[in-house]
Symmetry: C2
C-alpha cells in the first residue's frame, strides 16, 4: 500500500506557482527570488515532500548510482573493498548498486545487463572465476558507461584496472621463504584463469629461478582457497616434504598451516608459510602468519575516486591503463 507521494505539482498548486518554479526554487536557482525560495522550501517541508530521483534520473539521464559486481560478497577482502567504495561514493552523493556473480560468468553477464538497464552511471567490476568471454562488457563501451576493473581484472582489455602488483607480491613471498632457507616450496592458489593468481604464480616462478631452483609442477596446488581446501592441501604438503608453502589467501593458509601442524610437522621450523591479504586471521593464528598486506579499503577508495573524477570530467579513465596499489610483505613467525 504505497501512498501517493507529494510532488512539485502539489506544492505548485498550494502556492499558486508553476511547477518549474518549484523545481528551481528547491535547488536554489538564482532565477527564483529568495523570498519565493523560502516559501517553497517551507511548504515542501510542511507537505513532507521528497524528491523523486526516478523522475529526475529519467529526465537528466543520470542516476547518481554506481554498479558494483564482485565474485562473492561474503569475503573479508571484498567487503573491505566495497566498504572503501561506499565511503567515497556516499560522500559524493552517489549510491551503490551491488551484486555478486558467485563466480559464474552467466550471473556476471546478467548483472551487467541489469545494471545497464538500471542506467548506472558507471560500473566497477571484479571478475568471476569462470569468466573468459568478456563480450558482456561490450555493451558498456557501446552505451558509453565507464567501466573500471579492480582486483580480478581482464588480461587484455583496454580498460582501467586497479590492482596490486601481484607478480611482485608472489615474488616477495617466495623470495622471503627462500631467504629463510626453504627449498621445496609449494604454491597453493586459486584458478590461474584469473590474473591475481596467475601473476602471483609468475612471481613465484621468478623467485625460484632467481635462486636457481627448478620449477616443479607437482608443487602447485589449484583449489578454491577455502578452509576445507587448505585442510585437504595439507596432506600434499606433508607427502611432498615441502619446507615452504606460499598460499594466495590467508584463510586457506591458516587452515592448511594448522592441519600441517596437526599432522605432526612443526611450523615454521620444518615448514614455513606465507599467506595473502593480511586478513585478521593472519594475526590471530598460531604461529602468526607472514602475509602480503592487501589494502582492500584503499583499493575500493581509489577505484571509486577515479570513477567519480571521470564522471565529473576531471579525469578521463580511457587515458589510464592500470593503477597499482602498494602492497607489502608482512613478516611474522610462520616463516622465521
Amino acid at each position: 500500500m504505497k501512498q501517493r507521494e507529494t510532488t512539485i505539482y502539489d506544492i505548485a498548486e498550494r502556492l499558486g506557482l508553476a511547477a518549474s518554479t518549484i523545481s528551481r526554487g528547491l535547488k536554489g536557482h538564482h532565477t527564483v527570488s529568495q523570498q519565493t525560495q523560502r516559501r517553497i522550501i517551507a511548504t515542501a517541508e510542511a507537505m513532507g515532500y521528497r524528491s523523486n530521483s526516478i523522475a529526475a534520473s529519467l529526465r537528466t539521464n543520470s542516476t547518481q548510482t554506481i554498479g558494483v559486481i564482485v565474485p562473492r560478497l561474503d569475503s573479508y577482502l571484498m567487503s573491505q573493498i566495497i566498504a572503501g567504495m561506499e565511503k567515497v561514493t556516499s560522500e559524493a552523493g552517489y549510491n551503490l548498486l551491488i551484486s555478486q556473480s558467485r563466480e559464474m560468468a552467466a550471473n556476471e553477464a546478467r548483472s551487467v545487463q541489469s545494471m545497464l538497464n538500471s542506467r548506472v552511471d558507471a560500473l566497477l567490476v571484479s571478475l568471476a572465476e569462470h569468466t573468459d568471454d568478456l563480450a558482456h562488457f561490450e555493451a558498456c563501451r557501446a552505451k558509453g558507461v565507464p567501466l573500471v576493473f579492480f582486483d580480478r581484472v581482464p588480461a587484455d582489455m583496454d580498460q582501467l584496472c586497479i590492482t596490486i602488483n601481484n607478480e611482485m607480491a608472489g615474488y616477495q613471498a617466495t623470495r622471503h621463504l627462500l631467504d629463510q632457507g626453504a627449498r621445496q616450496i609449494m604454491f597453493i592458489s586459486g584458478s590461474l584463469r584469473r590474473n591475481v593468481y596467475e601473476q602471483r604464480l609468475a612471481g613465484y616462478k621468478r623467485a625460484l629461478t632467481s635462486a636457481k631452483i627448478k620449477f616443479n609442477p607437482e608443487h602447485i596446488i589449484i583449489n578454491d582457497l577455502t578452509e576445507e581446501a587448505g585442510i585437504r592441501a595439507a596432506r600434499a604438503v606433508v607427502s611432498q616434504h615441502a619446507d615452504g608453502v606460499v598460499v594466495t589467501n590467508d584463510i586457506c593458509a591458516a587452515a592448511c598451516m594448522n592441519e600441517v601442524q596437526r599432522l605432526g610437522r612443526r611450523v615454521p621450523q620444518q615448514v614455513k608459510f606465507t599467506g595473502f591479504n593480511n586478513d585478521i586471521i593472519s594475526r590471530q593464528v598460531t604461529p602468526a602468519l607472514t602475509t602480503i598486506n592487501y589494502p582492500g579499503i584503499e583499493m575500493g577508495e581509489v577505484a571509486a575516486r577515479h570513477v567519480l573524477a571521470h564522471l565529473k570530467g576531471n579525469v578521463d579513465i580511457s587515458q589510464l591503463e592500470n593503477i597499482v596499489i602498494k602492497s607489502s610483505l608482512i613478516i611474522r613467525e610462520s616463516s622465521l
Copy 2:
C-alpha cells in the same frame, strides 16, 4: 559521453508499429500476435535495445530495488548476511542498493532519506550503534515502504525483526562455562544500546543467577569488539583473575584469548573462552574457540524472502513481529 539509447519508439518507427505494441510485444502480452512478437524481439535485438528501467519505474511506481543499510560493510557477519540477501533477491529479479551508516545515526538517517528518494520498494536495516532516535524511519511508514530490521533491531517498534535468540545464546555460552567449572566469568561486549549485546548480557546474568553466582559489574567490559579492544581487555581478564570469558564477537575473542595466553595464562585450563558468530577465525585460532553459531547467510535469506513475499502480497509483514533464526553453541577446545 553517454550514447543515446535505443527506445521502443525507435523500434516502433523501424517496424511501422505503435510504441505500445512494442512494449506489449517485448513482454509477450497476448494482444500482440506471435508473429509480430517475433519481429519485435528480433528488431530489438538487432538494434541493441535495452529496456530503460528508470522509465518503467517512473510509470509503474516500483523499482525492483531493495535498500539495505548496515552499520558497517567490512565485517564478515554483515557480508554473509548481505550475500544471503543478494542471492534471494537477485533470483527474484530485484536489485540491492547498499549503504553503511558507519555506526552513526546521522548517516543512517541520510541513507534512509536517500533510499526513499530512490524509491526503493522496501528497506532492510541493521541499526547503527549510536541510533537511539528512530524518527528517521517514520518516513517509511508514512510512505508505505515496507521496513524490516535484522540483527540489530529496535527495542520498541512495531515492525518485523529478524534476530537470533540473543538472550538464550548469552545464557548458553555462560552456562557452558559454568558447567565447565568457571566461576569468575567476564563478559566482553559491544555497546548495550543495541539489543544484540544487551540481550546477551541478560542471558549471561540469568546463567549466573541460575548458578547462584552474584553478578559483579567489574566483570563487564564494553568496547568496540575489535582486535585491539580484545588485546586491551586481556589485561583486565588477567588482573581480575577471571577463569572464564564470554565475548560477543569471535574476532575480539580470538585476539583477547591470544593475548591472555601471551600474558602467561593457560587456555582453557586457567581461563575458558567463548566467542560469538562462528567466524572462520574461531576454527583456526588455538585453542579452537567455543562459539555461538550465527547463521548470517540464512538470516539474510530469511529477511529477503519475507520482504519479497510481502511485496508479492503473499505475506503481510505488519502481521509479524519477530522471526528468530536458530543459533546454537558450538563447543571447541577453548572452553574444555
